[in-house]
């Protein structure tokens, strides 16, 4: 329980010194942890850190609705911090008005989330533990490895269970668009369950291709337990491989797919000469 005490101490200090006007965290008063904005040091004793809870979107809304000089602290994990950075990059949140109190996850938590980076940039709380490689985990292997046809069957089986509750979108800390393409009949046919699940899930997945911070919010939120976060892994890997880019790690760096090849060269075209004639993918 030392981490919790550390956390409480830090938050208390920040509030007492009036560095922050409020700190967003989990409060457990009647043995039911709920997100809560601690504004006075006294309240802080009810601060808890478990279970994992994603604050990014909540923080965004609090900052938006609060007066302009309100500075908010957030007790959050690595994934949440990355989400906050992505929101800042996309002009949804004012950098100057938030303060992150970072907390490193435990090994168990990391394994539960298949998290490759279970710690914030600066871990104020807890000990940095090594991330896990999703491809090593048995649960993920079945979805990521094997023949194309197997994966196809596997995923159809999974996605067929979708009830189109939009929970994955709503829980995602990055999805902020109103209106959302997924509600547009043009892209996702209305009222057709399940026929249009391909476009629903793939469009959702691709929109997050270069912003997903792998927090696993979608997976946790899915009422029928589809491991949606696994859709992102391959794309995140290819971004890391080709541009050494990972969403949410560098506030100063925009997504590499938005710049041309002179700025962010990408591996395919480093073969001698430009691709000088039409090429079929399986031969490139």
């Amino acid at each position: 329980m030392s981490i919790v005490n550390d956390a409480r101490a830090i938050v208390k200090k920040l509030l007492e010194e009036k560095q922050l006007d409020g700190v967003l965290g989990l409060s457990c008063k009647h043995d039911e942890p709920v997100p809560f904005v601690f504004e006075s040091p006294e309240e802080v004793d009810s601060l808890v850190l478990e279970p994992k809870w994603l604050f990014a979107k909540l923080a965004m809304n609090i900052v938006r609705t609060s007066p302009a000089d309100f500075r908010l602290g957030i007790v959050c994990r690595g994934c949440d911090e990355r989400a906050l950075i992505e929101l800042i990059k996309r002009n949804q949140l004012d950098e100057k008005r938030i303060h992150v109190i970072g907390m490193a996850c435990s090994r168990e938590q990391a394994e539960a989330c298949l998290c490759t980076r279970p710690y914030p940039a600066i871990p104020h709380l807890g000990e940095k533990v090594q991330g896990v490689d999703p491809r090593e985990e048995e649960t993920a292997k079945a979805f990521l490895e094997g023949e194309t046809i197997d994966r196809m069957q596997r995923w159809t089986k999974e996605l067929a269970r979708c009830i189109k509750c939009y929970g994955c979108r709503n829980s995602c800390p990055i999805c902020v668009c109103v209106p959302c393409k997924l509600e547009d009949d043009l892209w996702v046919r209305r009222g057709e369950i399940p026929a249009d699940m391909v476009s629903y899930h793939l469009i959702r997945a691709f929109h997050l291709s270069d912003t997903c911070v792998a927090c696993g919010g979608c997976t946790d939120a899915c009422p029928v337990g589809i491991p949606l976060m696994l859709l992102q892994i391959a794309m995140r890997e290819s971004l890391a491989k080709e541009y050494e880019y990972e969403a949410g790690t560098d506030p100063g760096r925009l997504s590499p797919v938005l710049s041309d090849l002179f700025v962010e060269p990408c591996e395919v075209y480093e073969e001698p000469g430009w691709p000088d004639s039409f090429k079929v993918s399986d031969e490139t």
Partner: protein, 160 residues
Amino acid sequence: MMKDLKQDSNGVKSEAGNTPRVIVFACKWCGLIGADAAGRKHAQLPAGFRVIPVECASRIEADAVIRAFSSGIDGVIVLGCHLGGCRFNAANHRTAKKLKLLYPLLETVGIDSKRFLLSFGTAHEHHQFEDLINRFYQGLQRLAPMDAWSGSYLSEMGQR
């Protein structure tokens, strides 16, 4: 009236057998001209592809490609200009990088990456265009039709 239109075309298709259905997004300044040159040469190509001309390949959003797959299209081709020769200040560089990200996603969910082709070539080389279409079709012939995806999907629903 749309109905008998449909029936008719279905009739045609059933006779024609299941030729893969392909959408070609062609940049007006290179891909489309290649297609045009192929036409002028009376090249014989499989009839199952439909060309959608766009101003620049960079206008193609991945959503459109995904949408095509979800409505049972077997393959999608995006044709842009040479990466040296885009008329819009190398806008097609962005396409190249953006749509390349689609390959891992499609592979993950088991849509074979042979179904999606991102390609940059010069305008006037009709034989390149023929070559492209034919090879792409050869690639598709080896795969099950895309309906399999939604098909097995529906059967899953049935079992549920």
